[in-house]
């Protein structure tokens, strides 16, 4: 069974600064996907970024980038130039492709961006 661990329940960052959210996972699989999902207060969860394990290059989406360390089973999210709209719960997630597309989620990190 796969597990996803987010060890930072809450974090805060000043507006315009950079923050990194940590995530580790455990699996015996070699091919898998990793995701970061964002859940703003009282709003729907949306996908922020995803990484395919067979790709060595770290995924980037505008101000969001990941540091994927496959050997260490680490998948951190870096948010650059933090904005007030980045205030949200962030969930790290894991999935083995194909099949039923079941996703395993971490416990989440609550990020507060301070003006």
């Amino acid at each position: 069974a796969q597990t996803v661990t987010q060890s930072q329940p809450e974090m805060s960052v000043q507006e315009a600064e950079t923050v990194t959210l940590s995530c580790t996972y455990d699996t015996s699989e070699n091919n898998y996907y990793l995701f970061w999902y964002k859940q703003p207060p009282s709003r729907q969860m949306i996908l922020v970024i995803r990484q395919e394990a067979y790709k060595q290059q770290n995924a980037t989406e505008n101000r969001f980038s990941v540091n994927f360390q496959k050997a260490a089973k680490s998948f951190s999210l870096k948010i650059s130039d933090s904005q007030l709209g980045d205030t949200a719960m962030y969930f790290c997630a894991f999935m083995i492709p194909g099949g039923y597309q079941k996703v395993t989620f971490g416990t989440g990190t609550k990020l507060q961006v301070i003006p």
Binding site: R43, Q44, M45, I46, K102, F105
Partner: protein, 110 residues
């Protein structure tokens, strides 16, 4: 854009009541999921469905059942609601390895 809707944003029920939570997606996705979200526990999978009338138990199915009579609709049923089922319930559908979530239903069982 993919749209996943849930029948209620907030729901208050009494212990022992039968509760139906409905989820509808408009993109013809085959896979649909029900999660519950609790502080400090993240999202936990209750049930999922990979086709009409097909369902599989997730990690915490006890006390719940599901129904999928049409491809676009996936219902979560609490046969006899209990206070420990007070939670946020999230529905999702998936396509090409990405999950699309509904807005959630915050259920309170008194």
């Amino acid at each position: 854009d993919v749209k996943v809707t849930q029948s209620s944003r907030y729901l208050v029920k009494r212990t022992g009541e039968k509760v139906f939570l409905e989820c509808v997606q408009d993109m013809d996705h085959e896979n649909m999921f029900w999660y519950r979200q609790d502080p400090g526990l993240g999202l936990r999978l209750i049930y999922f469905s990979y086709d009409v009338k097909m369902k599989e138990k997730g990690d915490i199915p006890e006390g719940y059942s599901v129904s999928r009579e049409k491809k676009e609709r996936f219902s979560l049923i609490l046969e006899s609601a209990s206070t420990n089922q007070t939670s946020m319930y999230l529905c999702a559908s998936s396509f090409r390895d990405s999950q699309y979530f509904g807005p959630g239903t915050r259920l309170t069982v008194l």
